[in-house]
Each structure stands twice: as structure tokens, then as C-alpha cells.
């Protein structure tokens, strides 16, 4: 098989060996000369957090079994290679939903825990780790460690958001949220400036469990759409079943995302006719807009692309986000789906969790070599100035000092790293 890649298809770091896990009771596969090992699920993180150059990659998709489900309480236990999509297919018809879901449902439970992912409902529900009641970790010395908020809590805090470094996450127990059906009530509102965004966002956070904004990163003033939603209450008339996702079939030799296509897309997206008031639809288009186009990452071509996601603390958010957007629009380079969202006050449970109070901005950029890198240097300076941090799950290039400042618990965390586990990301940001 070809070497595992991360979702943005760079950096390309080949492991020495790939092993597939099939049963969670089996011992870990032998290193066979590899210096370290790392679990790899669906490869939906960006950059090198799921890569282990020269080491052993353990593919976890074979661990795809359910272990327990309590239909009355919504508590589910599953092996770590089960994807959120597989879990939703199973639990939605029974009236349950993920309490927290990232922007794609094609990630594994293990990956969701290891990156302590967040969703559009962070202001209400916190991050993924807040809904995990138990984890089973398999350490390289053969120990099976069970942890949760009330059991081995120090191991739990290290493993939630722990980038898969504390051992193999073998199984995950989650508390789901009840729903009446598979639909969501959504509402979209246009804003012409960042000031308007902050006003709309305050109202949306108060009134809606889910909210996030798409922002036109080419407009200096920061125009965009505020998209809010809630799970639909019980009702008689529901829209029909979901349609099958399309797949992007080829790797174009150059990125199809360029200044021209981006400007056209953003102008059209911003001006799309919006329904007056709330509308009813399936959950997929709201929560997982990009999942409708499988392999959308290929539109950026063979050279791949970068994600840049930062969080800025509340007091610095307004000024910092405005500065970041001004920098990006000056360059005329940016993403189709730039997302701006505010995190709630809930403190994350993981030592290395990314979500923290404030505002988060996520963007992708086609890889244009040195000019992209110099833009990042400029953005880094703004983020650092405002006391912010970058998201490890979406990073291929942050300088080590940036990581260490953004995640001051990294030294305390490193005591929990399994001696056989490592990743290209970890070696890069800790300069090993």
C-alpha cells in the first residue's frame, strides 16, 4: 500500500513499516527495528500529527467493532477505529447523536479523542473529551490502562488531546445526546463586517446550540454568513433520506483553488439567496458540508495545501481576528471555507487540548511554496502577539517556540508519553 498521508497531503513522510490492527486484545505489533510507533486512523488530521517518518504506523481501522450500547442512557462503547460516520449510522435511527462532532464525520473515535476535537456547539457542549466517560489504553509494556474523569484522571487528562502518544487508544466510551430525528433547524444570516459578526454571534450563541460563521477571507472588512442550528424537535413532516456523497475523481496537476476561482466562489457564496427564517434539513449538510464531496482535498492538486487554525483569547479576539483577515486579504490567497467561531468558557480536559475560551479562525491555503510560508510567519506574529495558539491537528509547520507557548503543559504531558510512541509532529515541535 502507498504510504499513509495526512488530509492536506503534506508533508510526505514515509514510515518504515505499516501494520494493521485487527483485534484489540492482540498485543501491539512488533517494532521490527522501527524506532517508534504511532496509531493512524482515517488520516483526516492535517500536517504530521498522524505521521511517523521512519517509524511504525499502526492502522486502526480494523478495530471497528461496537462493544456496548445502552439505548436508555445513550452511553456507547466502541473500538477506537470506528468512525463517527459508522457510529452515527448506528445511533441516529435509535434517537441519539454525537454530543460533539467535528466538521467531518469520517474520523475515527481514537482520532477524535487524541485531538480532543471540537464542533460548532463548543459554546454549549465543550469539546469531544467532555463526553468521554472511559478510555482503554494499551501501553507498549503490555499494560491495559483504563481511565476516565474519575479513574486514573491524570492518564485521562494526558490522553484526551494527547496526540496518540500515551499508548494505543483501544476503546472509547462516549455519552451521546438525545435527538428526536435526523434533522436540524438551521438559520443563515449575512454580515457585512466583523463588527456585525460579533453582534450576530452574541445573539446566536445565546439562542442556538450550534453556530459558526463562514467568512470571505478576501474581503478586508470581513463579510460572511452566520450559520446557526439546532436538532429538530419531533414533527411529522421530515425531509427525505440523505443523498450519496460524490467523490472528487482526479489529482489535478495544479491547484484548482487560485485567486480567480476563490474570488468567484466567495462572491457567489456570500450572495447566495438565503431563506427567510429557520429551515429544516438533514444533519449532514449543516454539520459536514465538505463530506458531500469525498476527497475534496484533491482539488488543491499534487502539491497539497495547508490548514491554519488558531485560537485567540476573548479579550484579544476582536482586534486579532481583524488583523489576521487584513493580512490574508492583502495577499489575495485563502480558502473556500474559512470558518470563524467562538469557543465557550468550558475548560478543556486534556493537558494538550486546543479548545480554550476565545475565537478560533480556520483557513486553508494552497501550497504555493515560499509565499505561503511567509504569510504564515506574518500570521504567527499576530497570533503570538495576541496570546493565541495554533491547532496541532492542523499543523505542518509551526515553529517549536509557538507550540511551547501555546501549550505550556507540554513538559508535564511528556511524562505520560509511552516510551515506544512518537510522531513526526512531536519530534518537530519539541526539537528532538
Amino acid at each position: 500500500m502507498s504510504a499513509p498521508l495526512s488530509w492536506n497531503r503534506l508533508p510526505r513522510l514515509a514510515p518504515r513499516r505499516v501494520a494493521k490492527l485487527a483485534f484489540r486484545h492482540d498485543p501491539l505489533p512488533p517494532l521490527e527495528g522501527a524506532p517508534s510507533r504511532l496509531a493512524y486512523g482515517e488520516g483526516r488530521s492535517y500536517g504530521d500529527v498522524c505521521l511517523n517518518a521512519g517509524g511504525l504506523i499502526m492502522r486502526t481501522r480494523g478495530l471497528d467493532r461496537l462493544i456496548a450500547f445502552d439505548r436508555a442512557t445513550g452511553r456507547v462503547t466502541a473500538e477506537a477505529g470506528v468512525t463517527l460516520d459508522e457510529l452515527l449510522t448506528f445511533v441516529v435511527p435509535q434517537g441519539w447523536f454525537l454530543s460533539v462532532s467535528p466538521g467531518t464525520r469520517f474520523v475515527t473515535l481514537g482520532g477524535a479523542v487524541a485531538n480532543d476535537v471540537h464542533g460548532k456547539n463548543h459554546h454549549r457542549a465543550g469539546s469531544f473529551g467532555h463526553h468521554v466517560s472511559e478510555l482503554e489504553i494499551l501501553r507498549s509494556d503490555g499494560q491495559r490502562l483504563v481511565c476516565g474523569p474519575g479513574q486514573n484522571p491524570e492518564w485521562f487528562a494526558a490522553t484526551v488531546g494527547g496526540l496518540g502518544l500515551t499508548g494505543l487508544i483501544a476503546s472509547v466510551t462516549l455519552d451521546l445526546a438525545p435527538i428526536a430525528n435526523a434533522c436540524m433547524v438551521t438559520e443563515a444570516k449575512r454580515f457585512r463586517s466583523l463588527d456585525e459578526f460579533w453582534a450576530l454571534n452574541a445573539v446566536a450563541e445565546r439562542d442556538w446550540p450550534y453556530t459558526a460563521a463562514w467568512i470571505d477571507c478576501l474581503s478586508a472588512q470581513g463579510r460572511g454568513l452566520q450559520l446557526a442550528a439546532r436538532h429538530a424537535p419531533a414533527q411529522a413532516n421530515l425531509p427525505a433520506k440523505r443523498s450519496r456523497p460524490l467523490a472528487f475523481p482526479i489529482d489535478p496537476p495544479i491547484s484548482l483553488v487560485n485567486a480567480l476561482s476563490l474570488r468567484a466562489f466567495n462572491a457567489l457564496y456570500y450572495r447566495q439567496p438565503l431563506p427567510k427564517g429557520p429551515t429544516l434539513g438533514r444533519y449532514e449538510p449543516y454539520l459536514y458540508p465538505l463530506d458531500a464531496l469525498l476527497n475534496w482535498n484533491r482539488i488543491y492538486g499534487r502539491r497539497g495545501f495547508f490548514q491554519y487554525q488558531c485560537v485567540l483569547p476573548p479579550e484579544a479576539s476582536r482586534d486579532g481576528i481583524a488583523q489576521l483577515l487584513r493580512s490574508i486579504s492583502r495577499r489575495g490567497s485563502g480558502s473556500f471555507l474559512a470558518v470563524l467561531k467562538t469557543f465557550g468558557a468550558a475548560a478543556s480536559l486534556g493537558l494538550l487540548s486546543f479548545p480554550r475560551p476565545g475565537a478560533t479562525l480556520a483557513l486553508d491555503f494552497p501550497n504555493q511554496g515560499a509565499s505561503t510560508q511567509s504569510l504564515f510567519v506574518e500570521l504567527d506574529a499576530i497570533v503570538a502577539d495576541h496570546g493565541g495558539a495554533l491547532y496541532p491537528a492542523k499543523d505542518a509547520r509551526m515553529p517549536p517556540p509557538m507550540f511551547k507557548r501555546g501549550f505550556p503543559a507540554w513538559e508535564a504531558f511528556s511524562k505520560f508519553i509511552d516510551p515506544e510512541f512518537s510522531s513526526s509532529f512531536w519530534r518537530r515541535v519539541t526539537e528532538q
Binding site: 485487527a22 483485534f23 462493544i67
Partner: protein
């Protein structure tokens, strides 16, 4: 709702097939050797099944052929009768080890052919008496022609194929179907030592879907995926004097 016994149920192909059967609402009795693996597979199905579905199991080493009648009885008792028997146990031998050791070669023939023939014979007698039922056996494209790289495995699968032809012929008048599935390369733990590049490799879930469809329509011989039929027509057509010089 069929009542289905699956032998070798922890193999990746059998487990994927069991999940498909379970989703259709069938009742299942699973037999596997390793109790840990069997428990994981059975637990998964028990969580997925609907309330009134039966998912039961027994752990057994199927090379102990004297246990076969009791296992089949237990499956019948547990499900209240049987409609389908899927025979999926197998191992992929180390060809070199089989060349060096007669014992190793015969042990592989035992696992991949004799235990299959034993179970299929017992199931055939049961189904012939009740004048209905489906016997489904996992063969292999390797059984279509001997090649130096795995002819012990190929010989065992070839024996199973000829056996199934005869059994099918015998049972046709009783309304009992005998389906031989011939998978090509499947990405499973059994094939972990291969470098799985290219389009020839299929996922166990796809093979599982094929098996469920083939079982439902009582097919005779089914290649999985279907394009292997064409590949094997070509492979079989190559004259022996040519093929013996090839590195296959």
C-alpha cells in the same frame, strides 16, 4: 429471517459477512477458534442486532473434526433449526515451510480442505433430509490453477471446489444450494505479509456483501470481486508447458 451457522467466524471475510446478515435481521450462530476474537466479533453483532434476533456462539478448533456433529447440533438447537451454513475457516500456509515439512503441508490440507469437507458433508445430510438449505463455502482463486508460490493452499482449495461441484450435483434434486465463493486478493490479517498495492486488493466488507447476495440467490460459483472470473479464464487458458516456466 434465515438461521445461519458460520464456521471460522473470526476470519475477516466471515465477520464482515456476519455483519451483513445481522443487518438483514438473520439469526446467527458463530463458531471460531480464538475465544477473545470470537467474543469481540459476537459482542459487536449483539450490540447491532435488533431485540428479537439471536446471536450465539461456540468456541472450537475446527481441525478437531470429531466435534463437528456436536457443533452443528448446537447451532440447530440454539437457532431452532438451520437454513444456511457458511464454512469460512482457513489459513494461508507458508509455502516454503510446507515444502520442507510433510507434516506442515498435511496440516494445511487438513485446515483448508478436510475440515471443510467434513462440515459440508454433515450440513449436506441435514439439508437433504429437510429438503432445503444453503451451503456456502469460501474457496479461492488459488484453487483454479497450481502455482509454485502457494500450491499447497491451492490444492486444498481446488479439492474443495471439486467437492462442491459434486455435492451441488447431488443436492440439486433436494432443492439445496451449494455456493462456492472464490475471493481474489482480500485485505485481511491473513494476507498481512503482502504488500497491498493496486486495484486487485478488495476489502472484506465488499466480499461480505457479495457472499450475502450469492447466498440469497443460491448461486453456484461466484468470483469476488467479479472481475476475477475474467482473470482466471485467462490464467486457466495458458498451456501448462508455458506456465511451468513462469514465476507465479
Amino acid at each position: 429471517m434465515a438461521r445461519i451457522a458460520i464456521f471460522g467466524a473470526t476470519s475477516a471475510i466471515a465477520a464482515a459477512t456476519a455483519r451483513e446478515f445481522c443487518a438483514r435481521g438473520d439469526h446467527l450462530f458463530l463458531i471460531g477458534r480464538n475465544p477473545h476474537k470470537l467474543r469481540a466479533v459476537v459482542k459487536d453483532l449483539q450490540v447491532r442486532k435488533s431485540g428479537d434476533q439471536i446471536v450465539a456462539s461456540a468456541s472450537a478448533d475446527l481441525t478437531a473434526r470429531e466435534r463437528h456433529p456436536a457443533l452443528l447440533d448446537e447451532a440447530q438447537r440454539s437457532l431452532g433449526g438451520l437454513d444456511v451454513v457458511l464454512i469460512a475457516q482457513g489459513s494461508l500456509p507458508d509455502q516454503r515451510a510446507c515444502e520442507a515439512s510433510v507434516e506442515a503441508a498435511l496440516a494445511e490440507i487438513d485446515t483448508n480442505a478436510l475440515s471443510v469437507i467434513s462440515l459440508a458433508t454433515l450440513a449436506a445430510n441435514l439439508f437433504e433430509r429437510q429438503r432445503r438449505g444453503a451451503i456456502v463455502v469460501i474457496g479461492s482463486v488459488a484453487g483454479d490453477r497450481g502455482r509454485q508460490s502457494n500450491y499447497i493452499y491451492g490444492a486444498a482449495k481446488g479439492m474443495v471446489a471439486i467437492f462442491c461441484q459434486g455435492l451441488r450435483n447431488r443436492l440439486a434434486k433436494s432443492g439445496v444450494t451449494v455456493t462456492l465463493i472464490k475471493p481474489g486478493f482480500v485485505d485481511t490479517p491473513m494476507t498481512a505479509r503482502f504488500d497491498k498495492k493496486g486495484f486487485l486488493w478488495a476489502q472484506p466488507s465488499a466480499i461480505g456483501e457479495t457472499i450475502v447476495r450469492a447466498t440469497a440467490r443460491g448461486a453456484d460459483e461466484v468470483y469476488a470481486p467479479a472481475f476475477w472470473r475474467v482473470i482466471m479464464i485467462v490464467i486457466r487458458a495458458i498451456p501448462e508447458r508455458v506456465i511451468k516456466r513462469l514465476k507465479l
